[in-house]
């Protein structure tokens, strides 16, 4: 009979039960029973089924597989193999009962008779369960493991070596088995002692001497319960002869060059015929139990705290959203800042961030430079009451696949995981979370199992699929932070959460202490709410005081800063005191009244506002008429003081308008002195990179001249280096185009004529161009210098260049866009001005990236080192 026959023969009821237990068999729907059988014996389906069984069922399956070499075991044989022979009243199905137990059998020596009897029925049910899952199927011969199971369970099911493939032959007496192939069964004659333990663990009886020397016994003991493979000791090791004797006796066989194997039959004999040392039992919970009110109170205060943290997170990020890293996720510094702002550990901050994200309250805003900001849902969430907010967070947490506890740990490349990083998704998290919560949910009410016990239960429930202890620890901690547990026990709200969020909210509401609407204000400027403050009271205190301690009660302290913040938010001293009086059970003490009044008295003494120009006059009467003058209505005039008016238009416009009105205003500079500006004339910049300078700025001109002289001196020095003034009287046009730029040929030629005459020659040209700055340069620069030197190296501060930083940057950006060449004056490391011909690539983040064609190198220059730039024509 095959498993397909078995499945075919199953009645509908059992078949339905099977499909319910192994849902993967039913979806997608199998076409035939044969294909169902094929799917049921596929490796993936078997793995999945095994992953879900508890330790007892797994033992049953292992026992069936382990006993299979001796023929399909009966149900009783399997039960006996797990519980031990003493319980094996039905374990004698096809084999003789054990005659003698080994006195020094390792292990726990079998359970007590009573325990063994209950074990037997327990294990029996486990076998039935295995059958129900079709991991094991029965027929007339006995129990069969589903095909493929043996491979999944590995080479040593239940720690037993595989049965020899050859037929079970008894080796001739006295011959030592040398190879690994035949089963080593030592005949009784080789043992000197009469104390013999023999057990029919199959057709081949095995006899193990009862009085083996201790060292030999120790070697066997080490291998008895598997794995059955040991390393051959190195030469010279005291254990080597021991192993040798055991090999000679056939109690071990060689399993390769360096290995010995405890033969299956020997192991079974040593094990008293058992496949397992003891029947697996669910851990008996002996857990501390918390009082229900303690659980409710602690979970409620945790829930309240967590919601408060998330609210603060949403508020903080709403004001200043942290930017998202390029790889996604939140930067370490932003997390640290958040932890600091919320006054919690970074690990907890990571949890809060992830929780808010899971609940859809914050998200990557998807902008070009992405940052994490509160979502629109957050506003709706903020409007709800505490229990509803919490239930929303808890619902998000229950299905979350995120692993915040990994934040800060390093991945295989050594980089630290950040919060909100896409990498922190793990598909298994919800399953493990459900398993952990189920441990708590199935425990007696109020039980607070320690971590190790939770792990023990999980190990029992799904031994083939034990969650990592780190994850279990973290999830338990998260549950506590969230208030799903309180003092380690599942809270009413936590119990309801997975079923129904609104029921969870109700349960939390029931756990929260009744809100108190009174505060006791005291002379030392503290206030105490002897319970949980109601929403309005909480909001009032939040606005006006700083929290000193939370818990059963709320303690706050009023400080000048906190009161000022309340005033900043628009309250007046009277309103504030009235509000406080309304909630203060014993009145507002005098020091607090003084604090509020004193703070209010100082509040707003200094006022700031926006104006574009001011108008002042000693004649108050003159000023008083202006704001109401209909002809000046567009100026936004406002009287600040009897002698000061402000305007909403720039000074130039103001002055023009007033002049138009027939008044005689003058403008004053920052120093209060009158600026004698002629009539204001509009100008536009001829070229953006040019300096725009008022023509009459004496100091500026002086400085310019000085700079020009320095530059000339430098140029002449360079010229000397290059072999003298080669261009003097020479190729004037060439020199001109390089030196002065395309628009200045006339001037260029003038200078090209050489030193002595340059001054006189340049002046008319400069005058013709009408450019005062150029005229100044033209008239002064060459005068004191030996003359321009090189066409290829124009001196710094040539007129088409610019030293104005903003204009220089603009020029560089344009050049980068056009890929054109620019002369750039760079202040070198030792403060020396250096002029280089560069092709800018980009100007970004305070740096110029450019290519130096002469050196064929790319260089990066900090913008603040650039003294000027000039287009190279």
């Amino acid at each position: 009979m095959a498993i397909s026959d078995y499945l075919t023969a199953l009645d509908d009821e059992h078949l339905v039960a099977l499909l319910r237990r192994r849902p993967d068999l039913a979806s997608p729907s199998p076409v035939t029973l044969a294909s169902l059988a094929a799917r049921a014996t596929s490796r993936s389906s078997l793995e999945r089924a095994l992953a879900s069984v508890d330790a007892a069922v797994l033992q049953a399956v292992e026992a069936v597989v382990a006993l299979a070499p001796d023929g399909p075991p009966s149900r009783e044989r399997v039960v006996a193999a797990i519980t031990g022979p003493s319980a094996g009243d039905g374990g004698t199905g096809s084999s003789p009962a054990p005659t003698l137990a080994l006195p020094a059998a390792p292990g726990d020596g079998g359970a007590a008779p009573l325990g063994a009897a209950t074990d037997a029925s327990f294990v029996g049910r486990a076998v039935d369960e295995a059958i129900g899952l079709a991991l094991v199927w029965p027929d007339d011969e006995g129990l069969h493991a589903a095909p493929g199971l043996a491979e999944i369970l590995g080479p040593y099911p239940a720690g037993l070596a595989p049965a020899p493939t050859e037929t079970r032959l008894t080796a001739p007496a006295g011959t030592a088995p040398t190879g690994a192939s035949p089963a080593a069964t030592a005949p009784a004659g080789t043992t000197p002692s009469g104390a013999i333990a023999s057990l029919a663990a199959g057709p081949a009886p095995v006899v193990v001497p009862g009085d083996l020397p201790a060292d030999e016994r120790a070697v066997l003991d080490a291998l008895t319960w598997g794995p059955p493979v040991g390393l051959v000791p190195a030469a010279g090791n005291a254990a080597l002869p021991v192993v040798g004797r055991l090999l000679d006796a056939g109690l071990l066989v060689r399993g390769g060059a360096r290995q010995v194997v405890l033969p299956r039959a020997v192991a079974l004999a040593l094990r008293d015929g058992r496949t397992h040392r003891a029947a697996a039992r669910p851990p008996a919970p002996d857990w501390p139990v918390r009082r229900p009110d303690v659980v409710a109170a602690e979970s409620a205060s945790a829930a309240e705290r967590l919601v408060r943290l998330v609210v603060r997170l949403v508020t903080a990020w709403g004001e200043e959203p942290p930017s998202a890293l390029r790889a996604g996720g939140l930067g370490v510094r932003d997390l640290r800042a958040l932890a600091h702002a919320l006054d919690i550990e970074e690990a907890e901050a990571a949890f809060v961030v992830e929780l808010a994200s899971t609940a859809g309250l914050v998200a990557d805003d998807g902008e070009e430079r992405p940052s994490f900001a509160p979502t629109e849902d957050a506003d709706a969430w903020l409007r709800r009451d505490l229990p509803a907010r919490w239930a929303h967070l808890a619902a998000g947490w229950l299905t979350s696949e995120r692993t915040p506890w990994l934040v800060g740990t390093r991945d295989e490349r050594g980089s630290a995981h950040g919060a909100l990083e896409p990498d922190l998704h793990r598909r298994w998290v919800p399953r493990v979370r459900a398993a952990v919560l189920d441990v708590l949910a199935t425990a007696p009410a109020g039980a607070a199992p320690p971590l190790d016990d939770v792990l023990a239960v999980l190990r029992w429930r799904t031994p083939r699929n034990v969650p990592p202890s780190g994850a279990v620890t973290a999830l338990l901690r998260e549950a506590e932070l969230l208030g799903v547990t309180g003092a380690g026990a599942l809270s009413p709200a936590g119990r309801a959460s997975p079923i129904d969020p609104s029921a969870a909210a109700d349960a939390l509401a029931a756990s929260l202490p009744t809100p108190v609407d009174e505060v006791l204000l005291q002379g030392d400027l503290t206030g105490i709410v002897p319970g949980r403050p109601g929403d309005r009271l909480a909001a009032l205190l939040d606005r006006t005081a700083v929290v000193e301690s939370r818990g059963g009660a709320l303690t706050v302290r009023f400080t000048p800063e906190s009161v000022r913040a309340a005033l900043d938010a628009g309250a007046t001293a009277d309103e504030l005191l009235a509000e406080l009086t309304a909630v203060a059970r014993s009145g507002v003490p005098q020091p607090l009244r003084y604090l509020v009044r004193d703070t209010a008295r100082r509040h707003g003494v200094l006022r700031a506002g926006v104006a574009l120009a001011y108008l002042r006059a000693d004649d108050a009467a003159l000023l008083a008429g202006l704001p109401d003058d209909p002809r000046l209505a567009g100026l936004g005039l406002r009287l600040l003081a009897p002698t000061v008016l402000v305007a909403a238009v720039p000074p130039v416009e103001l002055v023009t308008a007033l002049r138009g009105r027939g008044l005689a205003p003058v403008m004053e500079g920052p120093d209060g002195l009158v600026v004698h500006a002629p009539a204001v004339r509009r100008r536009t910049r001829p070229r953006p990179q040019r300096e725009e300078q008022p023509p009459d700025d004496e100091a500026r001109l002086t400085a310019l001249v000085a700079r020009l002289r320095r530059a000339e001196a430098e140029a002449s020095r360079d010229g000397a280096h290059e072999g003298g003034p080669s261009t003097v009287g020479g190729s004037g046009a060439g020199a001109a185009s390089g030196r002065w730029g395309a628009g200045q040929e006339g001037l260029g030629r003038a200078t090209g004529r050489g030193p002595g005459r340059s001054t006189g020659a340049s002046r008319p040209v400069a005058a013709r161009t009408g450019h005062a700055a150029d005229a100044a340069r033209g008239s002064e620069a060459p005068a004191g210098s030996p003359g321009p030197s090189s066409a290829a190296r124009p001196a710094p501060d040539a007129p088409s260049g610019t030293a104005d930083p903003a204009a220089a940057l603009l020029l560089l950006r344009e050049a980068a866009a056009e890929r054109s060449l620019v002369w750039v004056d760079v202040v070198g490391g030792r403060g020396v001005l250096e002029r280089r011909l560069l092709r800018p690539v980009s100007v970004d983040g305070g740096r110029l990236r450019a290519i130096d064609p002469a050196r064929e190198a790319e260089l990066v220059v900090a913008v603040h080192r650039i003294a000027g730039a000039e287009r190279a024509s």
Binding site: P513, D524, T526, S549, G552, Y594
Partner: protein
């Protein structure tokens, strides 16, 4: 949920609602292990600290009692983690014991060997511990007894000092209780101290700490070294001892800058002990000059650091610390715990006041609005100068005037920090001035005249902060202080808190310049007293005494 008077916060503060019917029971129950942090009018705040819990252990309370007390009086469920923490913290005390082994001498004995191993591995105990005798015992160099206790407190494993004390040289001292008796709380304080061996007694100023010292000396009946803050205080101790005990002037010596007498009872100043010449303390030999059986530290919250170091070497002698407040501006409370000893007695000021042993006091903060001119000067001043400017504002003179006039016939002290200001005030009020420069003889003469009533008003500098005994002074006006010192404020209030013959209320005024750092410092200074239940009334200087 019970209707208890106590709310236990998760940050380990306990809030006690004082108007609750069970508040008294609750306070008595938590007093041994919780430290009173604030005692304003409605809700008193206590705090559970490791030191407080260890103090309780030292006094024989165990964690179970503490937990039961919290559960009994708490209104809301007590945070579970806090209970666990209480049990763990208390469990740390006394796992190590300092004992006298008959064979080996001073030995650190471990009830928990793992703790001993941990402590021995610590770098901090290097050099303090000697050879290991067996699994549970390690030799301790007798000279390191104090250092070791300090280190163990820092490591979180405070040792129980069971090594006992040297008996010291016997010297008969008796209290001469003729016409007066020790007050009940003084008896309790002496009992608490003697039972515990060494430790600190905390009593308000004016509550008779000197008598507690005298009582302890009588109980000990040994030669005694008394360490006090200054010479005036030394003289007052001597006078009080002569008056209250069987001691004669010949038996009491003064060891100060001016005199170096060593007698069966010797009173020394901290200052002379901490004089340092060529890197050495020349007067340390005083500590070994006799076989002292008791050492009394007056004003233990002022104990200078070198005296801590010396005290570390005096662990075999009984030590009594006296103070009005354990608040130390330098935060070295744990050194007081490990070197002098745990707190053995404490009574809230208001309790003693309600029993009539100290005068009831009314504290008033007078806010003076500076004239515009002064405000301008203040605003332009260097930040370092601002406090002095604000504190010495000229307008304060008039305020003092008015206050003095409001209390005609009452002995009044005007206390300040800045000498210029005090000189001006003395001139202004036509009152004598006592500063550090005043000679001892002149000081004593003026104090005597003040006591007799011939001098109604005294202007004093900070020399009068401590231990001057002016029982009839009932008005104190503080015009300036040393920045934000809380204990100074308490000490100054203490000057006027001796109970008055006619049961008068004492008045304490602090004059503060409004909207300046003076006001900020004043707020800080007042915190201790506000926490002790002294509510300051604020008055505008303009509203003060319409008569003036």
């Amino acid at each position: 949920m019970t209707d208890g008077p106590l709310i236990v916060q998760s940050d380990k503060t306990l809030l006690l609602e004082v108007d609750h019917p069970k508040a008294g029971d609750a306070r008595r129950a938590i007093a041994p292990f919780a430290e009173l942090e604030r005692a304003p009018e409605h809700i008193h705040t206590y705090r559970l600290t490791p030191l407080g819990l260890w103090n309780a252990r030292a006094a024989g309370h165990d964690a179970e009692q503490v937990v039961d007390t919290l559960l009994e009086f708490s209104r809301y469920p007590v945070p579970h983690a806090l209970l666990v923490d209480v049990a763990e913290t208390m469990g740390r005390y006394g796992r190590l014991q300092l004992v006298n082994d008959p064979a080996h001498g001073l030995v650190l004995h471990a009830l928990d060997r793992a703790v001993l191993a941990e402590v021995m591995r610590s770098k901090r105990t290097a050099g303090l511990l000697g050879a290991r005798i067996d699994e549970a015992d390690v030799l301790v160099h007798p000279s390191e007894r104090g250092h070791l206790k300090q280190v163990l407190v820092k490591l979180g494993w405070p040792a129980e000092d069971l090594a006992g004390y040297v008996d010291g040289e016997k010297h008969p001292i008796e209290l001469a209780q003729d016409g007066w008796h020790l007050r009940p709380y003084q008896e309790q304080a002496i009992d608490g101290f003697f039972h515990g061996g060494s430790g600190v007694v905390v009593l308000p100023c004016g509550a008779g700490k000197t008598l507690v010292g005298a009582g302890a000396m009588a109980r000990s009946s040994t030669t005694t070294l008394i360490l006090v803050t200054n010479t005036v205080s030394a003289r007052q101790w001597r006078d009080e001892l002569i008056r209250r005990t069987s001691l004669t002037p010949e038996e009491i010596g003064e060891y100060s800058g001016s005199r170096k007498e060593i007698r069966p009872v010797t009173i020394a100043t901290y200052q002379v002990l901490t004089v340092k010449r060529k890197g050495e303390y020349p007067h340390l030999e005083l500590l070994d000059a006799r076989d002292w059986g008791l050492i009394v530290y007056d004003e233990v919250h002022l104990l200078p650091a070198p005296v801590f170091r010396m005290t570390a070497d005096l662990q075999a002698r009984r030590r009594l610390g006296l103070t009005a407040t354990l608040v130390r501006e330098d935060g070295r409370e744990d050194e007081v715990f490990s070197l002098i000893g745990p707190k053995r007695f404490d009574a809230p000021w208001k309790d003693i006041e309600s029993q009539g042993y100290i005068a009831p006091a009314v504290c008033t903060e007078v806010r003076l609005t500076l004239p515009d001119h002064d405000r301008m000067t203040y605003a332009m001043a260097d930040p370092d100068e601002r406090y002095r400017l604000a504190a010495t504002a000229a307008g304060k003179h008039k305020v003092v005037d008015r206050i003095v006039k409001q209390h005609p016939g009452e002995p009044t002290l005007v206390i300040g920090q800045y000498l210029d200001q005090l000189h001006e005030l003395a001139e202004h009020l036509d009152a004598p001035l006592i500063t550090g420069e005043t000679t001892e003889r002149e000081r004593e003469r003026l104090y005597a005249a003040f006591r007799e009533g011939t001098v109604p008003t005294l202007v004093v500098s900070k020399v009068a902060n401590f231990s001057i005994d002016l029982p009839e002074a009932s008005v104190a006006v503080q015009v300036s202080g040393s920045f934000g010192s809380r204990q100074e404020e308490a000490q100054r209030l203490g000057r006027i808190m001796r109970p008055k013959g006619d049961g008068r209320t004492a008045h304490f005024y602090a004059i503060v310049a409004r909207d300046t750092v003076d006001q900020d410092f004043a707020a800080h200074r007042q915190r201790f007293l506000a926490e002790q239940g002294y509510a300051y009334t604020i008055v505008d200087a303009e509203d003060l005494g319409g008569a003036a």
